[in-house]
């Protein structure tokens, strides 16, 4: 079947002009012309407009007539056996999957790293979950997230009925979410500011805390234990290799303060009570 089809196609392609000339002997009925026009229109609607205007009259007819007969015969066959169960035979093997696995295995084995033990292909045999189950799971997760957020951010919400915070509250909510996701610092903390401002802020914070503690103490309320802020350990910062360990090196000059000199000299041995 396939062979004959291929042959016919080739013939049509190579010796198109011959075919066109030959069927001129055939009778030209008016209804056949109508049919041609219809098919032509149909053809042009689906594909490109036909370039040749005079000649290709026969060509579509020829093509379509053959096709139509074929189609009809096939269609009839199917419609006759409509009652019988349709038998589906798949000739595709799992060669694709196997070759894919081969590639993966080769990549894993031939890489420069020592190969891990052969992976078991569980992914292939994963049973698809039923859609309702999956939907329910997704819905549950969604509700869960919404509830978690509500619990965390409820203090930001004012009395309005809307549960999505807006304005500065939205920024605060975003900050909370980011921190819950693992962000180290808040987005509201200003990184750079004049030293005096920062000092003022820390001073205010400490004074506030101190006042709170004092008032609590006066009222006999026991507060949580104060966390002592650790000062930077060690007086000196890490410095470059080869720089002097003491003093200030500025403008090609090493300046030693009195304290530096004292630290170099070490504790003075008092000669008072000692005899030589």
């Amino acid at each position: 079947m396939a062979v004959t089809l291929g042959k016919r196609k080739r013939v049509r392609r190579e010796t198109g002009s011959k075919i066109e000339t030959a069927p001129q002997d055939a009778p030209n009925d008016s209804d056949q012309e109508d049919l041609q026009a219809t098919f032509r229109r149909h053809f042009e609607a689906r594909f490109k407009p036909l370039a040749d205007l005079a000649k290709p009259k026969e060509k579509p007819v020829d093509l379509v007539a053959e096709e139509s007969t074929e189609e009809e015969s096939e269609w009839d066959g199917i419609s006759e056996d409509e009652e019988a169960p349709v038998e589906i035979i798949e000739h595709s093997t799992s060669a694709d999957a196997a070759s894919l696995l081969d590639k993966q295995a080769q990549k894993a084995f031939m890489s420069s790293k020592p190969p891990t033990s052969t992976p078991t292909s569980t992914a292939r045999f994963k049973r698809p979950t039923s859609p309702t189950e999956a939907d329910g799971e997704a819905l549950n997760l969604k509700n869960d997230l919404a509830l978690q957020r509500l619990l965390k951010e409820s203090h930001l919400l004012d009395s309005t009925t809307d549960y999505t915070p807006s304005g500065s509250n939205r920024h605060k909510a975003t900050d909370i979410r980011l921190q819950s996701l693992g962000s180290k610092s808040s987005i509201h903390v200003q990184e750079k500011m004049p030293m005096s401002h920062r000092r003022g802020i820390t001073a205010k914070a400490t004074s506030k805390e101190e006042q709170r503690r004092r008032e609590a103490k006066e009222n006999g309320i026991i507060l949580e234990r104060a966390v002592k802020v650790q000062k930077m350990a060690g007086g000196r910062r890490e410095r470059g290799v080869g720089t002097p360990g003491v003093g200030k090196f500025r403008g090609g000059m090493l300046k030693l303060s009195k304290r530096d000199v004292a630290s170099i000299e070490g504790p003075k041995k008092s000669m008072k009570g000692r005899r030589r």
């Binding site: 295995a105 790293k113 891990t116």
Partner: protein, 407 residues
């Protein structure tokens, strides 16, 4: 190290197990003195080029080690230093790669250097990154000296470190392949070992259940010869192995012959010649519990062996290795036992076949470890099986990585 009074060196004789002794000496920090190295040989007394090259390598990856030869080279004194790895300023270049050139007279495969290097690397202070180059690098297995191929090192030896908790950042890159050159000497390969996982102490292991073979994998390599050799080797090997394990994959790697500078006197200056032409195959069987058995066969440099024989020989060799039983094969046994002996002060156990335990290497390793002051191994029959395997119990030394302790 020089300030403290070092203990007197432990004395050994003979040229055999030189590398093994040097490794244990470096790991334990005890100096050794090896005398009568090929003193009976009239043609080549003393150390051979590959041994000297290994000593050089040992010198570059340690700091403060002392190596002394006698005039004839038949006596060697080695005082180990600290294992630094490929630290900058100690021979490694700016990218931290330590380049080690192997001499063209080298008859051993590069696995001769890789296996001890992998044993030392977990105990070094920094990551170890060594590039083996030069006209002496043979990446294939060597028919003359019985060294395993680089592929086997990567696929059968390095995975064993995983059970000791050493698994991250380990790579063995085969940059250029080479079989042994004419007269079993030299090759033009290039191999880079990156061992980036340093530990304080390897974990204590209990490798008692060998399991059953679940897959066989392998690499067939052809250097400077037709790729058809690979196909023929693979077909012959699969013909033997497929009835036993259907899950057999052997991959093929074809490369051109490496070019090395022509060293002959008649050659033009700057002339190069092809070297290291041949083919070979490396097979690794993996069990359901992660045990590995390997086989290695390569064509001899003089040729005359059809690839079918090589492939079939490798398959039979693999079957023989598996039949010897136990969790570790004879190839991997020194590595596993040394790591166990260097582990924490705890009893680790490993099941071994009698034939594996009875090999010269394992017995001499046991004796050498005793000489270095390690406690003896306990042997008992694994009574539950009929194969006659032996369970070897090894008490770790509990010192581990000295550089790591200080750092």
């Amino acid at each position: 190290m020089s300030t403290t009074t070092s203990p007197p060196p432990i004395r050994f004789t003979g040229s055999k197990y030189l590398v093994q002794r040097l490794v244990v000496s470096t790991l334990t920090g005890r100096p050794i003195r090896i005398s009568q190295i090929r003193s009976n040989s009239t043609t080549s007394p003393g150390l051979l080029p590959h041994e000297i090259s290994f000593l050089r390598l040992l010198d570059t990856i340690t700091n403060g080690s002392l190596i002394e030869f006698s005039m004839t080279g038949t006596t060697l004194l080695y005082r180990p230093g600290l294992l630094t790895g490929s630290a900058q300023g100690y021979g490694a270049d700016t990218s931290g790669v330590l380049k080690h050139e192997l001499p063209r007279e080298c008859t051993r495969g590069v696995s001769y250097y890789l296996l001890p290097l992998c044993l030392l690397a977990p105990f070094s202070k920094a990551a170890l990154n060594v590039l083996f180059t030069g006209a002496g690098v043979i990446t294939s297995s060597t028919p003359s000296t019985g060294d395993i191929s680089v592929d086997t090192v990567r696929t059968a030896i390095l995975p064993l470190y995983r059970s000791f908790g050493i698994e991250n950042n380990i790579e063995l890159r085969i940059l250029r392949r080479s079989n042994p050159g004419p007269g079993n000497r030299g090759g033009g390969g290039e191999v880079q070992l990156l061992f980036g996982h340093q530990v304080r102490l390897p974990k204590t292991v209990h490798l008692l259940n060998p399991g059953r073979v679940k897959s066989i994998k392998g690499v067939a390599y052809a250097t400077g010869v037709s790729a058809a050799n690979n196909a023929r080797m693979i077909e012959a090997a699969r013909g033997v192995l497929n009835p036993f394990v259907a899950n057999t994959y052997i991959f093929s790697d074809v490369s051109s012959a490496p070019l090395v500078p022509d060293g002959s006197k008649t050659a033009q200056p700057g002339a190069k010649r092809k070297i290291g032409v041949g083919f070979g195959i490396s097979l690794v069987a993996e069990s359901s519990t992660g045990a590995l058995w390997s086989a290695d066969v390569a064509s001899p440099p003089e040729g005359g062996v059809p690839p079918e024989d090589v492939g079939r020989g490798a398959a039979y060799q693999l079957l023989e290795t598996i039949s010897k039983g136990g969790y570790v094969s004879a190839v991997a046994a020194p590595t596993v036992l040394t790591l166990m002996a260097m582990g924490s002060e705890d009893v680790g156990r490993v099941k071994m076949g009698r034939d594996v335990l009875g090999t010269k290497e394992v017995v001499s390793l046991a004796r050498d470890l005793r000489a270095f002051g390690a406690s003896g191994w306990g042997l008992r029959d694994a009574d539950e099986d009929e194969q006659g395997d032996v369970v070897v119990s090894v008490v770790g030394r509990g010192v581990g990585n000295v550089g790591r302790k200080i750092a």
